[in-house]
């Protein structure tokens, strides 16, 4: 076995530990599952090649997100899509992911998400259903109109309300606040 192969195997452990986190982060930026997959893949490859430049191993998750963000912006730009480059938005996303970065003795990243899961479960039925179809089943707003037999504006409104409700809930549960 050569050293490079060993390094890739060790990197695989990091990939397994951070894959879900990174996909969630990128989905928040690009809002497109297919594109998010491509971005995550490219970010992991770049991450491996630049790993020697990472000085603090504790900062790996945040460092990986930075790489993914650059890749995501580049991909969005190529596709002429809106880039959420506002500093406040990026800092807000980082606020949430930083909470989940706290090491908890090898606990899988997914296991730390009970708070957000509870927030989702607390949504009123109508909002939860539209969320499920959109986020979990990747249905477009137009497809949801057919499934639920409601108008496009109603679907968009419900998604908006669900999104705000989950954000407000997470804000309280994760004790998110702006650093001023």
């Amino acid at each position: 076995m050569n050293r490079a192969m060993d390094s890739v195997d060790v990197y695989e452990v990091l990939v397994q530990q951070h894959q879900s986190m990174l996909l969630a982060y990128v989905l928040g930026i690009v809002r497109d599952p297919t594109l998010a997959e491509d971005v995550v893949q490219e970010a992991f490859v770049i991450g491996y090649r630049k790993l020697a430049t990472l000085e603090k191993k504790e900062a790996f998750a945040a460092w990986l997100r930075t790489i993914a963000r650059h890749v995501a912006f580049s991909q969005l730009k190529k596709r002429n899509r809106e880039i959420p480059s506002d500093q406040g938005i990026l800092e807000g996303m980082e606020d949430v992911f930083r909470v989940f970065d706290q090491p908890r003795g090898g606990e899988p990243w997914e296991a730390r998400l009970t708070i957000v899961e509870e927030c989702f479960q607390r949504l009123p039925d109508k909002l939860r259903e539209v969320c499920r179809l959109h986020y979990f089943e990747d249905q477009s707003t137009r497809q949801i109109t057919d499934v639920l037999r409601i108008g496009l504006d109603a679907v968009k409104k419900r998604l908006e309300r669900a999104r705000d409700a989950i954000r407000d809930c997470a804000e309280k549960r994760l004790k998110l606040e702006e650093p001023w």
Binding site: M1, N2, R3, A4, D6, S7, V8, D9, V10, E12, V13, Q16, Q17, Q19, S20, A24, L27, G28, P33, A36, E37, D38, V40, Q41, A43, F44, V45, Y48, R49, L51, A52, L54, K57, E58, D86, Q87, G88, I89, E91, G92, M93, E94, D95, V96, P103, G106, P108, E110, V116, E117, F120, C131, Y135, F136, D138, R163, D164, R167, E178, W180
Partner: protein, 292 residues
């Protein structure tokens, strides 16, 4: 908090909402992403003559044994000793010889000498060598091992260490090198390279079996596990029981329970992880141990 101090507030909250959206879509959508696997396949496929390391440490020391093992001189030690002093006269030599004889006698009575392992080898294949001091022995099944022996298993062969007084069994895979050390009742094994499978009989808690690799130290009281020492990393997969894995470099230690694994490597947090699907084979340990 005046608004003029927080112009980014709405956008920050937009960021919180986007993060929640991402979490919902990825986690609660039970999305199984192939992105990581694809990235790894891409990395593995790439020809990388200038290998990227997880550490800027240049090369690995053969074992760093000086940091990991502190054994009394003379027990399992390969240090050259007993050089004659040119100026010594016969009286001194005789006195020294008497002292040496007494010391050897005391050592023999106090410590089960050289045979503390009470172990022998079973060999599959050919060319398994046992290094004993400066001598090399071609090992055959039944070869009795001593403290200080290093078992070298070449590619295509395998060896099993069996103990006379306990049911502990250690299987050495091909391309492995394992050194047996003992001091009194304490037994240590240095896995220089390759991989081993260990089924350890219950050990006295005060005298666990200790396995040492370049990156880590595993203390075993009675369990079944795999241990692999690779170029820059040590992999431990526990099938049954619990193994304490310590990393002397940063003085961290964790307990790895059944169906969990841990990897000790520069730049990687030492943590027990639930068994990965690929470990069921177990994938990593099935790889060839080392080349050179």
């Amino acid at each position: 908090m005046a608004d003029n101090q927080t112009p980014s507030s709405p956008s920050r909250r937009e960021g919180w909402a986007r993060a929640c959206e991402g979490l919902l879509a990825s986690h609660f959508g039970r999305r199984t992403s192939p992105a990581g696997a694809k990235a790894l396949a891409q990395l593995r496929a790439a020809d990388q003559p200038n290998s990227v390391r997880l550490s800027d440490r240049e090369g690995t020391t053969p074992l760093g044994a000086a940091n990991l093992i502190r054994f009394p001189q003379g027990v399992g030690s390969e240090n050259e000793s007993g050089r004659s002093d040119r100026g010594a006269n016969w009286t001194w030599l005789a006195l020294a010889a008497c002292c040496a004889l007494i010391a050897v006698g005391v050592l023999f009575l106090a410590v089960p000498p050289l045979d503390a392992w009470q172990a022998s080898l079973s060999i599959q294949g050919t060319d398994v060598v046992v290094e004993r001091g400066s001598q090399n022995f071609a090992a055959a099944t039944g070869f009795r091992l001593r403290a200080g022996d290093t078992i070298q298993v070449p590619r295509g062969a395998a060896a099993t260490i069996r103990f006379r007084r306990e049911s502990t069994q250690i299987d050495l895979a091909e391309s492995s090198a394992l050194k047996l050390m003992a001091a009194g009742n304490r037994r240590r094994l240095e896995l220089h390279r390759g991989r081993i499978e260990v089924v350890a009989a219950p050990q006295p808690p005060a005298h666990p079996l200790v396995f040492v690799t370049p990156e880590a130290e595993a203390r075993v009281i009675g369990t079944h596990f795999f241990l692999a020492a690779r170029q820059t990393s040590t992999w431990l997969a526990v099938i049954d029981g619990t193994v304490e894995l310590a990393r002397p470099a940063d003085k961290t230690a964790i307990k790895v329970g059944p169906r969990h694994y841990a990897v000790a490597a520069p730049g990687l947090e030492l943590a027990a992880q639930p068994e990965h699907q690929r470990w069921q084979t177990p994938y990593y340990l099935a790889r060839p141990g080392k080349s050179g």
